[in-house]
């Protein structure tokens, strides 16, 4: 048993390094993207071997699912531009400098891990000790939504800022996602798949307090359903004109801040969830965060203001 798993880990580690090297070495952007999708899948297996199922879930949804879709969509867009000619952006000197910088950083991280004191067991024990008061049975959710809620608040803030930046900087005029109606097979497939994907997202959200899962995993899976609807023309690209769309983007952040401030009325510190309410508040926050994360990811996939055929009135010159 141990020998088999040892062989499994060796093959896994060698494959990961080879895939990373292949992603960087190939001049074909398409081959690079496909290798990157496989890298995401392999990474998710690696997280499974490292007992980090939460990360394995994220990697499966984001690495093997959404990132590949995002990169392929971008490649299709780049190729549709007349002036697109793939050129290596760095000369030999630039590549050497980049390799040196990356190598130095890698060695520094390796040295830091090597110098890790044997006696330091991490914060896992402290999380386990206080798990009962967190309102969640899954230690990862307890840390993300309670013990270190500050980090999660800032992360959802980063996502909202990313949408604002993409919207402000990339009008992408002349870009229409896809005008052709999908064929019968694709339309039927999406028709069947989207409800299943939404169900899986709901399951991950509900499971998140007790087992691996939660808002980020559920949001990424829900976003994949949005991408499917978007890419087959079942829904129009988001325009962020309607108050509903804008509201959905900030919903998670606003709810997080509101809960954080509201608990202060009961004499708690900012974001310190009262024990009696913790489970309810975590589930509420995770549900709203899931919606925001999903819509943010779909908007980032669309990549900016997309409708050139019918520009918004205020965009007219």
């Amino acid at each position: 048993m141990t020998a088999i798993l040892w062989a499994f880990d060796v093959v896994l580690a060698v494959t990961l390094v080879a895939l990373a090297a292949g992603v960087l070495a190939t001049a074909s952007l398409f081959r690079s993207i496909v290798l990157f999708i496989v890298f995401g899948l392999t990474m998710s297996i690696a997280w499974a071997r490292l007992d980090a199922v939460d990360l394995g879930l994220v990697e499966a949804a984001v690495g093997a699912g959404l990132t590949g879709a995002l990169l392929l969509n971008t490649l299709g867009h780049m190729r549709s531009q007349a002036e697109f000619t793939p050129e290596p952006s760095h000369g030999p000197g630039g590549r050497l400098a980049l390799a040196l910088a990356a190598g130095t950083a890698g060695l520094a991280i390796g040295a830091a891990v090597w110098a890790w004191p044997d006696a330091f067991a991490g914060l896992g024990d402290r999380v386990d000790t206080h798990l009962a008061e967190s309102g969640a049975q899954n230690p990862v959710t307890a840390v993300l939504l309670n013990f270190r809620a500050y980090d999660t608040l800032l992360e959802i803030g980063v996502l909202v800022v990313a949408v604002v930046a993409v919207w402000a900087l990339s009008p992408m005029r002349g870009r229409v996602l896809d005008a052709d109606p999908p064929g019968l097979v694709l339309a039927g497939f999406v028709h069947l798949l989207v409800p299943v994907v939404v169900l899986v997202a709901g399951y991950l959200l509900w499971m998140g307090t007790d087992a691996p899962g939660g808002a980020f995993q559920a949001g990424a899976v829900l976003a994949a359903a949005g991408v499917l609807l978007l890419i087959t023309g079942r829904v129009a690209p988001p325009q962020l004109q309607a108050i509903v769309e804008r509201g959905a983007v900030v919903l998670g952040l606003v709810a997080f801040l509101a809960v954080g401030v509201a608990v202060m009325a009961g004499g708690h510190a900012f974001l310190e969830l009262p024990d009696a309410w913790a489970t309810t508040l975590i589930l509420l926050l995770e549900s709203l965060l899931t919606i925001s994360i999903a819509i943010v990811l779909v908007i980032l996939f669309a990549g900016g203001r997309t409708d050139a055929a019918h520009p918004p009135e205020d965009a007219a010159p």
Partner: protein
């Protein structure tokens, strides 16, 4: 804990490594993405086997997510990239 499931997971992982040759050599973009699609199925099976071999039941949820989302990249490929033509950048690699 089960030796058989761990051995089968290793076998499938080696299958994935062998299939990487198709991703690298192509020749058409469809060959490459179909190989990646096959790995998605392989990944589902590996996760399901590891769930048994390592006794981590929640790995079945990872298999579920992989299975549900495996087709998303493929759909985007068909809608946005696939033209029926060979990879236009293939010549750049052939000269290296």
């Amino acid at each position: 804990m089960n030796d058989w499931t761990a051995a089968l997971a290793l076998f499938l992982l080696l299958n994935l490594v062998a299939g990487l040759a198709r991703v690298w050599r192509g020749p058409t973009p469809a060959d490459r993405i179909l190989a990646a699609q096959l790995f998605g199925t392989t990944g589902v099976a590996i996760m399901a086997l590891l769930a048994d071999a390592l006794d981590i039941t929640s790995l079945r949820d990872v298999a579920l997510v992989l299975a549900a989302l495996a087709a998303v990249a493929m759909v985007v490929f068909v809608r946005r990239v696939w033209t029926g033509q060979p990879d236009p950048e293939e010549a750049a690699d052939a000269g290296r």
